[in-house]
Symmetry: C2
Subunit: 341 residues, 2 copies
């Protein structure tokens, strides 16, 4: 053991709803010595990010939960103070995952060396790190903003949102709208970051504010929050809109399952939901007709009709259709079919 004291913050109890101070405990332990291939580093910067709320809960997320009594996980910038790894020297700065503690031993393979002359060290936890990549890749690869389009982002002054809005402008979006939680933040994203409009969700009515802010509708919504903001944005989305679902901050502290579809699994499983209307797929009609006719003729595909005779029975049949009373494709026989007479 080293004679350095390691301060760490451990998870004392799993928070129910909003975390409380008493869910955490500060403890002091001796600092361990690095083994072969390992280094000991002193934490300089610790990044706090909303995803950590998921890690201190039980239940499925995209990574294992922090166990009770364990130090809480987190990305850090630290400085090497002892090294048993040939690629790291004492004094090197590294991007690390020390978590919520002042010192940690790590395997060299999990570290990335940082050059403090290139950018402030802490930037690699933000704009030049995981939050920056989150902004960049989800906006450009899923959101795919095109010149002239309208882009909306929630949590817009945050680590991710602020970068999203600015990249959208750089890429030629005609209108970038940010949703924030205070007037200061609204001023900041508009005056400092160049967003076209800011909306304070705490003082403005979202539906009307979005309608005014995005008069041509919304083409890309970069969603950090889900919940009521997603609901309001959906009212203004344009044909073929793209919505990267990146965070559900509004649900992280929820104690009951929100009614309506809970979209958390979509995020965890990087799944896709896409609205479909058959009118967009006329170009597939010939492929379809060839395949399905063939399958019908070969008996690979079977088909059942539920034929109701008489136009006067259409209302009743339709009411039943919405209840699921029909069995097979519902057809009203309005007049005789001379081909089956």
């Amino acid at each position: 053991m080293s004679d350095l004291i390691n301060k760490k913050i451990i998870l004392k109890s799993r928070p129910v709803g909003e975390p409380k101070e008493s869910d955490f405990a500060l403890v002091e332990t001796p600092t361990p010595e690095p083994g072969e291939g390992e280094i000991l580093s002193r934490t300089i910067y610790l990044s706090l990010d909303p995803y950590m709320r998921g890690r201190i809960s039980e239940g499925e997320s995209y990574a294992a939960s922090v166990e009770l009594g364990s130090v809480i996980v987190g990305g850090t910038v630290s400085q090497v103070i002892k090294s048993n790894h040939p690629q790291f020297q004492v004094g090197d700065f590294v991007l690390s995952n020390n978590g919520w503690q002042t010192y940690a031993v790590s395997k060299g393979e999990t570290l990335r060396k940082l050059d403090p002359t290139q950018a402030p060290l802490s930037y690699s936890l933000g704009v030049l790190g995981m939050p920056g990549l989150t902004a960049y890749a989800a906006l450009l690869d899923i959101g795919q903003p095109k010149e002239g389009e309208t882009v909306v982002v929630s949590a817009a002054s945050g680590a991710v949102g602020a970068v999203v809005g600015q990249i959208a402008k750089i890429k030629g979006a005609a209108r970038v709208v940010g949703i924030v939680g205070s007037d200061d933040k609204r001023d900041y994203i508009v005056k400092e970051l160049g967003f076209d409009v800011g909306i304070n969700r705490k003082t403005q009515e979202l539906n009307s504010a979005l309608k005014e802010a995005a008069p041509n509708g919304i083409d890309v919504y970069y969603d950090n929050t889900a919940g009521v903001i997603l609901e309001a944005v959906l009212q203004q989305i344009n044909l073929g809109a793209r919505i990267p679902l990146v965070g559900l901050i509004s649900e992280y502290n929820a104690t009951s399952t929100p009614s309506g579809p809970n979209l958390m699994p979509l995020l965890i499983k990087r799944a896709l939901i896409k609205g479909f209307l058959v009118g967009d797929y006329q170009h597939r009609f010939n492929d379809f007709l060839g395949d399905v006719s063939g399958w019908l003729q070969s008996g690979k595909l079977k088909y059942k009709e539920d034929v109701v005779v008489g136009l006067e029975n259409a209302p009743d049949a339709f009411i039943g259709l919405l209840r699921g009373d029909n069995f097979g494709k519902l057809i009203i026989k309005v007049n005789e079919d001379p081909t089956t007479a």
Copy 2:
């Protein structure tokens, strides 16, 4: 005017919730004469489809509402009885949009001639028509089932769902699960159509039934219903799952806005939501770092940090982060940064 009597069903009042017989009225009018380039046809088959519920409501959908007093819209197969159009002869069978009436005048351009020797006439309103194309294109182009995968479809014995499940099997899905509303329908999709499993949503608990039916999770969910079925399916979806959102039958009769995100706009606008996790985008890291570093250096992109000093303040800062109290990227300064001393 012709001396033929045209029977039609008109929209008498806009249904609130489940439609009632009294929302419809059967009226008789003289049948109009076709003008230049028009034909008069006798309706043989009228297709009833769930989308019609949206057409008889007010409010935005993907097509205009049926006006009060007007005949209700609908796809039909009809036979030409008078023609002022060179391409159509009396006796021809045509795919038409006569709506809920026994006769209609149409412009020739809106009609497609049908050959009754190829398939029963009514099939062009079902398996070989719009419902069939809906099944085919949304499953293959959005759902993209791969060999060995598990595909789930709701409203599985209906005009669309029955075709979806069979195409999924034809395309090599290892397991096709259908959700239906009766034991008869469940037997039908399994014994007649070759689905691997059927679930009766009225008698079986959906979550456990789905877990058992899809032990390897769900890769494609063809969603005709949304609502509680979507909620349950989301609990079992696999990484990278695809969900064509084709219908929201569960919401068509809803009188209040469902709480939680109402997904109707996704469908109407053919929009896409896709879950995102930054871990999948490491291949974009170099592009990202090059672009964002450049933008930072040129001043195109600005960045703000909210630095809290002292590890002991991390819990409080984290609680505030979830409330949105931070302003800029939240960083805990755990130890001194020698590069800024």
